[in-house]
């Protein structure tokens, strides 16, 4: 099978269309614009709708409309635009409307810069809009995953009736790698709750408004139960060389790639290092961390930010193991060499591992 060399941003759109996406409403922004451009080229050819909105605020509310009409739909933006979309994402989460938001991150706060950064983790993972809601967040680290996780994002969006965020740093959006796609295109049936302007859907109502306090509480409990279900069924992470790892490196997106290279080099140098890469940032792969506690002596979180993922890692470990942090921001990338030096220094500081017997004694 011939793979194709393609940018991550282009792969997102092709995968989306194969997964039945027929609506794209967006606003240009670096480094996400190729997604809009590719959508503008292909959606009209497949009987879909592409529209460049007057703002990100309008774009996300157009998704609210398209999704209400039962059409699989998506948008893409970067930090400043995603900030403007928070209103609509909150409304869609409240109204249980599925959609996919590709968030190709850049530097912040404010206008920041357009280099690759991971400072929007909290915005994506902790719900940047108002109210008791969350959105599933998928974090691809390769062009192939940009394609695969986009398809998964549409499935999850429909399954749990929620916006799903594809959180990719600018590198993953901009780089080219070989990719292959699902062989067949699909278009799902129009969901029964949609409002399509027909006799069958006449009684349907899309709203996020629940005036009674008991009504609203029941509603947000229902959303919460949905997230719990997603946590049980959808949590994903990649573990590599963690089996006997004493030092577990943790990072997502492009950082996951760097950590893979570091892990390989560390292993070659005789250090017991492994990699745990969260693929779903919400739901968070807490169990993967807890499983590793028995072996691992320290977790090292590496991020292109001043430290956001690291908070979730600490919560997942709940004090069971120390957590070290290495972060770069502003568009700087923690390089392979920088992380390797950090790991070597850490390994040098660590006491020799306890023997099995000592370990057993320690647990008595």
């Amino acid at each position: 099978m011939r793979k194709q060399l393609m940018k991550g941003n282009e792969a997102v759109v092709k995968s989306a269309i194969l997964a039945g996406c027929r609506g794209y409403y967006g606003y240009p922004i670096t480094p996400a614009s190729e997604i809009a451009e590719t959508a503008a080229e292909y959606l009209p050819k497949v009987g879909g709708e592409f529209l460049q909105a007057e703002s990100e605020v309008a774009a996300i509310n157009m998704l609210y409309g398209a999704s209400s009409a039962g059409v699989r739909c998506m948008t893409a933006s970067s930090g400043p635009g995603i900030s403007l979309m928070q209103e609509g994402i909150s409304y869609m989460a409240g109204a249980e409307l599925p959609c996919v938001v590709a968030h190709i991150t850049r530097g912040g706060p404010g206008l920041g810069n357009i280099a690759s950064e991971q400072g929007d983790y909290h915005q994506a993972v902790k719900a940047g809009g108002n109210g008791c809601y969350k959105t599933p967040v998928l974090a691809p680290y390769s062009v192939q995953e940009m394609a695969d996780l986009t398809a998964l994002a549409f499935e999850m969006a429909d399954r749990y009736r929620t916006p799903v965020v594809l959180l990719a740093d600018g590198f993953v959006g901009q780089m080219m790698e070989p990719v292959e796609f699902q062989e067949k295109a699909t278009v799902p049936q129009t969901p029964r709750w949609a409002v399509t302007g027909t006799a069958e859907t006449r009684g349907n109502l899309i709203t996020s408004l629940h005036m009674g306090s008991d009504d609203l509480e029941a509603h947000v409990r229902h959303l919460e139960a949905n997230y719990e279900l997603a946590a049980q069924n959808e949590t994903r992470a990649e573990e590599w060389m963690t089996e006997d790892a004493e030092i577990v490196l943790v990072g997502y997106g492009i950082v996951g790639r760097i950590l893979k290279a570091v892990t390989a080099e560390a292993r070659a140098a005789g250090l017991r290092v492994g990699l745990l890469r969260p693929i779903t940032l919400f739901p968070f792969p807490t169990r993967n961390f807890q499983r590793l506690v028995s072996r691992a002596r320290v977790f090292v979180v590496v991020e292109m930010s001043t430290g956001q993922l690291v908070e979730d890692v600490r919560l997942a470990l709940n004090g069971a193991r120390p957590v070290e942090f290495l972060g770069r921001a502003g568009g700087n990338v923690p390089s392979h060499e920088e992380v390797m030096a950090f790991v070597r220094e850490l390994a040098g500081r660590m006491q020799p591992a306890m023997t099995r017997d000592e370990e057993r004694m320690a647990h008595v």
């Binding site: 529209l51 509310n61 009409a69 739909c73 080219m176 699909t186 302007g197 390089s335 392979h336």
Partner: protein
């Protein structure tokens, strides 16, 4: 009164079919709306419901309700209902209509919603000529939130946030939405009506029906602005409030048709039929292809490589393309590859660089911080990356002489005036391919057929393919003849 007598009457004007029989908003209030006595919304709802009935479009209608007093419109209208965020109804309506072209979409909005927070959405929906109907209820105040100033508040009118009355100096003048939107080319029908007396009410009903009819005919964007009483917030009796619409509001907001292009408007085109699903991978250019004959055998013979290449130069020198051809050729040869560009402001400030990796093994990091080959197309790029080159690696430099202070004992250097060579070949722009030729010859990494295949895929103009092929060959030759081998 006997029942026999009632049977003699024929009901000519009952409750519209497009209303629900009961309003299930609150258990104790199934037969009354949440609107205050004397509020204009009830009257306007009735007009809209009647128009839907008369046009026979109840099943097709989708009502988008706003944030404001009419937020609960979905309790009354027995149609498809979507409740939108504050001011965003025109954006929501836009995508509803574009997604379901046979539906009839109504955006029902108040003046705070439409003329303040939603001013961008209404302007652009109108400017695109969306085939929707907008009912714009103007009562010159924010009512739902308790009487704050709106863009439509009259000069001198008191509100809870303009306690001394609106002043032109401080809040500007009342916003004339109908007049403003009528300056746009796309809208088909814009009229301002009022609920000031029975005659005006009759005219308002006609206008609303017309605006709905325009959409049924597919003519495009229609907006009806309705001057409407709000006795509660205005602190007036219902009759007095109606009188105020008639006597005061109308002076600021004159009634009339501001735009009527219904005669010359083109009917919105139907969407092209969607292609069959099985053709979609092909349309996207991602249909699965088998490998051409002999390719597997060729790939098996490709030697073990692990290239970490950094290419850098001025924008316009073809830095990114050089990297792309290398990566594409590597893919053709069955290698694992990655290509990562510098992007953004760097693109515009004149320098450009990219990271390329080729390997038999899966590629961990696509970032090349320690290259084993540096292709420096100019001196600044050499100075930026020279020190990072891995000991034992290569530097291919475009220049007559290698700068003395960049010389390292532990790397190989091929320094030649590649731009001049390209000029001799007939096009300065081919310097990148001459350098790539040298790189390919030096590393022996890829079969020529893969490089040819990559060029054909990436360079669309056959004239340039021919030039690039000559440039690559010249580059190979230069390396073979160089002393550094």
């Amino acid at each position: 009164m006997s029942s026999g007598l009632i049977a003699e009457y024929e009901v000519v004007q009952g409750k519209a079919k497009s209303f629900y029989d009961t309003y299930e908003r609150k258990d104790e209030l199934q037969h009354q709306t949440h609107y205050c006595p004397g509020c204009g919304h009830g009257t306007i709802h009735k007009m809209l419901a009647r128009a839907i009935d008369e046009l026979g479009i109840q099943d097709r209608t989708i009502l988008v309700s706003p944030v404001g007093c009419s937020v609960f419109a979905y309790y009354y209208f027995d149609v498809g209902n979507v409740q939108a965020a504050h001011g965003r109804a025109p954006a929501v309506a836009t995508a509803l209509k574009r997604s379901r072209r046979d539906s009839i979409v109504v955006s029902y909005q108040g003046d705070g919603d439409l003329s303040a927070i939603g001013s961008a959405e209404i302007l652009h929906a109108a400017n695109r000529g969306e085939n929707i109907t907008v009912i714009f209820v103007n009562n010159a105040i924010y009512s739902m939130t308790g009487g704050q100033f709106a863009p439509t508040t009259l000069l001198g009118q008191k509100s809870t946030t303009t306690p001394l009355g609106r002043s032109a100096q401080h809040e500007g003048y009342p916003l004339h939405v109908s007049e403003l939107l009528a300056t746009l080319e796309a809208p088909v029908y814009i009229e301002r009506v009022a609920l000031g007396d029975n005659k005006q009410i009759a005219q308002a009903a006609k206008a609303i029906k017309r605006a709905m009819e325009n959409q049924v005919k597919g003519l495009g964007f229609s907006l009806i602005e309705v001057l409407s009483p709000c006795p509660t917030v205005w602190k007036m009796q219902p009759v007095q409030a109606q009188q105020w619409v008639h006597d005061v509001m109308e002076k600021t907001f004159p009634l009339g048709v501001f735009k009527d292009r219904t005669k010359e408007a083109h009917v919105w085109p139907a969407r092209d039929a969607a292609p069959p699903l099985e053709t979609i991978p092909e349309i996207l250019g991602v249909a699965h292809e088998e490998l051409p004959e002999g390719k597997a055998e060729m790939r098996a013979q490709v030697k073990d490589v692990d290239l970490h290449v950094r290419v850098a130069g001025f924008g316009g020198q073809g830095v990114l393309l050089l990297g792309e051809v290398l990566a594409e050729a590597g893919l053709d040869a069955g290698l694992e590859v990655s290509w990562l560009p510098s992007y953004g402001p760097e693109m515009r400030s004149g320098t450009s660089n990219c990271h390329v990796r080729l390997s038999k093994e899966p590629i961990d990091s696509p970032l090349v911080t320690v290259p084993n080959v540096l292709v420096a197309m100019n001196e600044p790029s050499l100075r930026k990356f020279d020190a990072s080159v891995k000991p034992g690696g290569w530097v291919i430099y475009n220049g007559d002489a290698f700068p003395e202070d960049c010389v390292r004992e532990d790397v190989h250097v091929l320094a030649l005036p590649f731009t001049q060579v390209a000029n001799e070949l007939g096009d300065t722009r081919a310097a990148n391919m001459v350098m790539l030729g040298a790189l390919l010859e030096m590393t022996g990494a890829l079969p020529q057929e893969s490089v040819d295949a990559a060029l054909k895929r990436l360079v669309k103009n056959p004239r340039f393919v021919e030039l690039d092929e000559r440039a690559l060959a010249r580059g190979r030759e230069l390396y073979r003849n160089s002393a550094v081998r």
